[in-house]
Structure formats: structure tokens, C-alpha cells
Point group: C2
């Protein structure tokens, strides 16, 4: 067999792998098999296409199949892989109802993640959506356009739930955001959570925390109400479910590749699976968390792309030349006029990882005090009280999504709080106060430590 790289999945990680493999091996045969009809799209933009900010869902597509074809990468859409046969280095897939087989010298699994509605009573009624791929988005958009719902429930206050709260509000729909926990985005609590709750409520979003979804009620075949664990009944003629995502690892599991405790494929640092010529990348994988040293499942776009590059390079070169160092768990989201960002471990994660976390909260201005247009940034630093940074969370109207990257950089390379506090960060009146909010927050930590 002539070397042949087969990639399962034609979105972020899969196409990153294809492009990087091409860069590394100009003549390598590369085939991408994609289950849906869509490739190369920015799934993270879906809320903005549904809000109307992006005028057309099709604009989320970055490159056409032609773009890849010109680079010698064959993309086959509507090809669903049904089995990986490692012993024969072959994948089996269906296309238009026909079963095909394709031999590979190297395989990259980039099957992503799925979302589905929990199987509570009524979960199959019309008007209940998950948002994972463009097809999900088209269906939801059609429903919103044709059925003109007036009240929406969103299940899950993670970043997709928060973005959808804004998106649906922008469409004039009354939103109730429901989450079984007491935090937002998985970990945001205290003053930072309250600031986000204020922002949501000031924009007319009702928020119910501590209420789990237990059932849907319907009128005809269309959803009409959400019932929660606290016996609340919320009118909703459309529902978005933003909980319950899981890695698409069934193909890998069936092929007896090693699967982790969180359901994701286990890979080595070169993104190799437990079978030497099979690599995996992106949301279908578990990943090392640098701060806890544990494997986590963290389905996010940027780690997916990086893992794709590494898998593609190593598969193309047939040796592990590139390695992925893991994640620190950086994430940002915009909600109305607020930016929310986090990185590292939450207090809960930190305790689970064996640390004794302390927290320090700080409110600082985003610009020089005299400069017009500034606002307060809330920063919460999670640390061990002895100089080790564990995580950080920030909420504010400007500069938050970029500022969290300072903490991320420090966390990735285990920079001590004292050194981070001494770093000279950019100052100019329009951008920051003389001492940046990041530094203020870190100084407070250093002061706590020196007590």
C-alpha cells in the first residue's frame, strides 16, 4: 500500500490534521471522510448565526471542499464510518446506503463530540434542539423563522447556554435559562457569578439555578413547557439543550482503542492512540490538564486544532516528532456587554486534584481612573497560598478575554505568583490603569502568601 492518511471527521481537528499532513508530506495521499454534508465550519459561531448577527448560517463555512481538493486532500462528505478495523488497517463506511472499505497506512480519528437531550419524558417533541453542527443550526433556524416562538427555555448555563441566551434575546424571544447547579460556566460563583446574573437579568433573561430538567410538556407535537426538579413549570415554545455533550468515541471503543474514564479516546503526547498507526485529535479525545496533571475532557476549538496539527504531522511523518503539552482550560464567552473568561482549575477541580486552594477576589478599573469609558473588572485568583497559581476567573466589560491569557500563559509554564506579579504589563490610559487588574489581583495573592 502506498502511504494513505485517512481522517475521520472534516471539521476543526480533522482538517487541521489534513492540512498539516500535507505541509509535512507533499505527496501523501490524504482522504477525509465526513459523516454530514458540511466541512470546515466554525461551530462556535452558531449562536451568532441564530441571533442574526451573522446573516447566514452558510457563512460559518470557512473553506469549501474545492479548497482542500486543490491541495490534494480528498474530502468525501456524507460518508459515515461504521467501523475501524485496526488489524486490517481499514475503515468501513457507508455512502448513499452502500458499504465501502478504505485501507489506510495511518488513521486520524477526529470524530468530535455529540450533544443530545437527556431522555426525560417528552424529549422527542418538536421544538427541542441541541446545537452541535450546521445541520442542527439550520433546523433550529428554520424553526425560529417559521414557528416564531415567543418564549424559550435554555437548559444549561455553560458557555453555549449563555451565548444562546443573548442570541435568542436579540431575536426578541423571552428567555429562561435553567441550570441544575448553582454556578455558571461550570465554576463561576460568588461576586463574579452575580455580576453575570445581573447582566442576564438586566437584559430580560430569567435565570433559574439549582433546577434540573425533569420533563417536557407539549401542545400537539410541539413543546410547550419545561418541568424542573423543583416542580417549576416554565412556558417555552422552543427549547435549547446545552448539557450532556459527550465525546464521539464509539468507533474507537469498538475498535478496542483505549478509552478514558470520561469517555474520550486516550492518546499519548503525540496524539497516538493505543494502536500505533492510529491517531486521534480534538473533542473525541481526553487531554492532559497541565495544572492538575489529570486527564480531562474539554471539548474546545483551539486545543482541537492544535491536536489536529500534531496528529497530522506525526501521522504524515510516521513518527512522533510533535507533542501536545496539554491544556490549562482557558475559555472565554461574551454575554451581552460582558466578557467572562476562565483558565486553570476551579476551586472544586483543585480540591479534587489534591490541592488546598485559596481564593482572592479583586475589583479593578479597566482603564486609568480619569479616562472615559472604563468599567470594573472582577478577578478571582485560585492559588495554593504558597506561590503556586491554580486558576483564574475574570468578568468585565472589556479586556477580560485577552487578560485571562496572561494567567493562562503563567499556568501553562508554572510561573510563580511572585514572578507574575512583577511582570510589566502594558499600560496606557485607554487600555489599563497604571497597575493592570491582573497585577492587582496577583499582588493581593502575594500579600496573602507573605502573611
Amino acid at each position: 500500500l502506498q502511504p494513505h492518511l485517512v481522517i475521520i471527521g472534516g471539521v476543526a481537528a480533522g482538517l487541521a490534521a489534513a492540512m498539516e499532513a500535507r505541509r509535512r508530506a507533499a505527496n501523501l495521499r490524504i482522504t477525509v471522510l465526513e459523516r454530514t454534508g458540511d466541512i470546515s465550519y466554525g461551530a462556535c459561531g452558531i449562536p451568532y448565526a441564530l441571533s442574526g448577527l451573522i446573516s447566514d448560517i452558510e457563512k460559518l463555512t470557512v473553506h469549501s471542499a474545492w479548497y482542500f481538493s486543490e491541495r490534494g486532500i480528498e474530502i468525501r462528505v456524507h460518508c459515515e464510518v461504521t467501523a475501524i478495523l485496526p488489524a486490517r488497517s481499514t475503515v468501513e463506511f457507508t455512502e448513499s446506503g452502500q458499504v465501502h472499505q478504505l485501507e489506510y497506512s495511518h488513521l486520524v480519528i477526529a470524530t468530535g463530540a455529540s450533544a443530545s437531550c437527556p431522555p426525560v419524558p417528552g424529549h422527542q417533541e418538536d421544538g427541542i434542539f441541541v446545537l452541535r453542527n450546521l445541520q442542527d443550526a439550520r433546523r433550529a433556524n428554520e424553526f425560529l423563522n417559521n414557528r416564531q416562538p415567543r418564549k424559550a427555555a435554555i437548559i444549561g448555563a455553560g458557555y453555549i447556554g449563555l451565548e444562546m441566551a443573548e442570541a435568542l434575546t436579540a431575536r426578541g424571544i423571552q428567555v429562561t435559562l435553567i441550570d441544575g447547579g448553582s454556578v455558571l460556566m461550570g465554576s463561576l460563583e460568588g461576586a463574579l457569578r452575580d455580576r453575570v446574573l445581573d447582566e442576564l437579568r438586566n437584559h430580560g433573561v430569567e435565570v433559574l439555578l439549582g433546577e434540573r430538567l425533569t420533563a417536557f410538556e407539549s401542545v400537539g407535537d410541539r413543546v410547550s413547557r419545561v418541568i424542573t426538579s423543583g416542580d417549576r413549570s416554565i412556558d417555552a415554545d422552543v427549547v435549547f439543550v446545552a448539557i450532556g455533550a459527550k465525546p464521539n468515541s464509539d468507533l474507537a471503543r469498538d475498535a478496542r482503542l483505549e478509552i478514558g474514564a470520561r469517555g474520550g479516546i486516550i492518546t499519548g503526547p503525540g496524539q497516538q492512540t493505543s494502536v500505533s498507526n492510529i491517531f486521534a485529535a480534538g473533542d473525541c479525545c481526553e487531554v492532559l490538564h497541565r495544572v492538575s496533571g489529570r486527564r480531562v475532557w474539554l471539548p474546545l476549538g483551539q486545543p482541537a486544532v492544535k491536536q489536529g496539527w500534531i496528529a497530522g504531522a506525526n501521522a504524515a511523518l510516521d513518527r512522533v516528532i510533535e507533542r501536545y503539552g496539554g491544556v490549562v482550560g482557558t475559555n472565554a464567552v461574551k454575554v451581552f456587554d460582558l466578557e467572562i473568561a476562565r483558565t486553570g482549575l476551579s476551586v472544586e477541580d483543585a480540591i479534587e486534584a489534591g490541592f488546598q486552594p485559596q481564593t482572592s477576589e479583586m475589583s479593578s478599573p479597566s482603564r486609568a481612573a480619569y479616562f472615559p469609558g472604563g468599567s470594573r473588572i472582577l478577578t478571582r485568583v485560585i492559588h495554593d497560598g504558597r506561590g503556586k497559581l491554580l486558576g483564574a476567573e475574570m468578568v468585565g466589560k472589556e479586556g477580560v478575554a485577552q487578560r485571562i491569557n496572561v494567567f493562562a500563559t503563567a499556568l501553562y509554564s508554572d510561573v510563580r505568583t511572585e514572578d507574575l506579579g512583577q511582570t510589566d504589563l502594558a499600560y496606557a490610559p485607554p487600555f489599563a490603569p497604571t497597575v493592570d487588574p491582573v497585577l492587582r489581583a496577583v499582588f493581593e495573592v502575594v500579600r496573602l502568601e507573605s502573611r
Copy 2:
């Protein structure tokens, strides 16, 4: 003598020292002697007060003397220190023409920097300004209001020159920006410089690079023209000189404290001078550059405040308990709709420090490609080709002043390019593309290195 901390200078570093000393020693007697009538002001805001964005120069004052008095810090304005007498632990100062002496147990010198016009023919004519303190700003503002100049020349394309170009343009004044070098902000060259030049010219600012100031011509006693080394004659009925700043170290020199090659006071890491109970902080000092390992003079607000804190703490506690780790030279400026930021060494600095620098330039979108409102960010990374980061420069319309802090954090703690490239930075469509411009630029460096 009861412990008595005397501080010379009542702006950033001096007052930071006073406040930190108070925090560390509740009963310490603290006296601040300030030469001018102003204390606790944000000199960096002067261009914005002259532009009219900040409605009144007096708004640049952060705290009144009363604020400090309430905290047991005695502020004495219009007190000009004329001598430091280390042998007698005494400073001599004049107030209303009277000479006084004041004994100290510990002294902090925070005399800042001065700007003055080079002594070229005509430099004493009316209408020629430097901008260093509030009094300079008031005089300039009065001139602008009363004399209504129509054409301005700005000498020096550093950050103050750039900010003043915007400020005067906002007032409807035609601006010519003149600099003897070929770069902006001391090091910006190539595509990054050109983008800033385009921004300036698109806003009607004329820029003359490679032209040194040689003389002023006047009509009556008022400046009317600037003459340059290339024999150009530029009409200007007001001139702002933004070159020639130097540390105010004469008092320290006269007291035989150690002075560095760049004219600043030499301090140890605890901000102690060559006399054990005398500390110095801020723009009057030289400072360690972490990347070059050399002493530099870098008069900037944030290092000044940090050095002030450290000097104040150590002076108050009478031992070196806090240490300043040095700077990486981070700086940011807004010019019209552009953000410009830099950190670390320039190519020239790097060569001088014994490195063999390489550069890598990258243009990346500031947001997800499909997200409205994004623009290109130009990033230039300076590195040694073997994994060591030396510096970075960025120009763009958004997120630049914050993004440079990622490089600054990496530089301060000597994070390798490979590790920086692997760091997961925040991604969400409104804030960044999947792979942040910082990462894109660093990947390019890592690729160059692996060749």
C-alpha cells in the same frame, strides 16, 4: 531620631512608596516633599486632557493631599529639595524662598524625569512646549486655547509624540510629526511601522522621518517654523518637543550616590542606592532589563509604581524584604484607531545584548473570520532561532495592548517559544480566531526553528 521616612517626589513612585510604607508601618512618620504644586496625578493622561477627551486637566489628579493626610502622610508641595546630605541623614529644601533642613531615618528619591527642548537656535521662543508635569500641561492648554494655533509640529515619534499627534488633530490643528530616525516608538519598523504611518496619514498627520530638528524660526517672539536637518522648513505656530527626556538624578549625583551610564540612579533589587538608608524608585532610576540582563533607563508608569512599593516597604521595615525583578520593556499606545504595543528587546537591542536575533512577521485576524467587525493584527516576534523569545511588537485595531501581555509574561519568566505556542489562549468568536494571533506568530517561529 524617631524613624522618619522622607520621600522626594509626590507623583507615581513617591506616593506608591508612601502608601506602601504606611501599610507596612502604621506609626511611621512619613513626609513627602514635592517641588511643584501638584501631587498624585496621571501624567500619562496629559495628551487626553489636551485633546479635550478629558474635559479638564485637573481631572488628572487622582488623590488630594487630604487623602494622604488622613493616612498620616504629610505632603508638602512647593518644597524643592536642593541637597541630600547622606552623612547627616538630612535633606535641604527651599519653601517660599526659605531654606529648611529635614532629618530622615530613611529616604526615598522619586524625583522622576525631565524633558527639555534641545538648545537649538530659537528654542526659547514662545509656543514651544514639553509635556512632563501638570504645569507644563496647563501652560500648553492655555496657549492652545488663547492663541488658537493652526499648525503644529511635534518633535519625536515616541509614544508621547504619537499621542499628541492624535490629540492635536482632534483639536482641529494640522500636525507634522518629525523624527530623526526611521522608526516609530524607538523600534517599530517594516510593515508594522507602515501600518501606523498609514493610520497617521489617513487622519491628516504629515510624518517626516529621518529629519532632525536643527532650529526654530519665529515671528515676533512666537515660533513660526521648524527647520530640520534636511533643510526642510515646516510651518508651525505651536511645537511640542517629545524627545530628550532624562532622569532627574542631579540631587543623587551631588550626594555621591552611584549613577549609571544612562544617567539614572543605580539601585539594588530592593531599590536601595549605594547608601544603605537611601532608596530610589521610578523614572529617576535605571532598571534591570530581564531579557538583556543589562541596565536600561525606561521611564514608564507601571515599573515606577512597583519600584515605589518596593522602596517604601523596604524603607519602612529597614531591611530588604521586597525585591524588584526588573522589566521586560512592555509599552502600549493608542493612535487614532490603532493600538501599538511592544515588549522585550528590539532587534537593535538584541544585537547589542549579544544575541543573534531573527524576526518573524505574521498577519492574523482579530476575531473569527465570520464574525463581524474584525480586522488584521500584525505581529512581529524577535527570537534567537533556538527557542528563546527576545521581544514582540504588535499593531492592530483591537486586542493588541492586551495581547502583548502574553509575550511580556513569557519574556519575564523566560518561557520557551515552544511552550508559549502550546499554551491554550482564550477563544470565542467575538474575541479571537480559533488560533489566536499570538499563537499563530509563535507557531511560525517554532517552524522556523525546526528547519
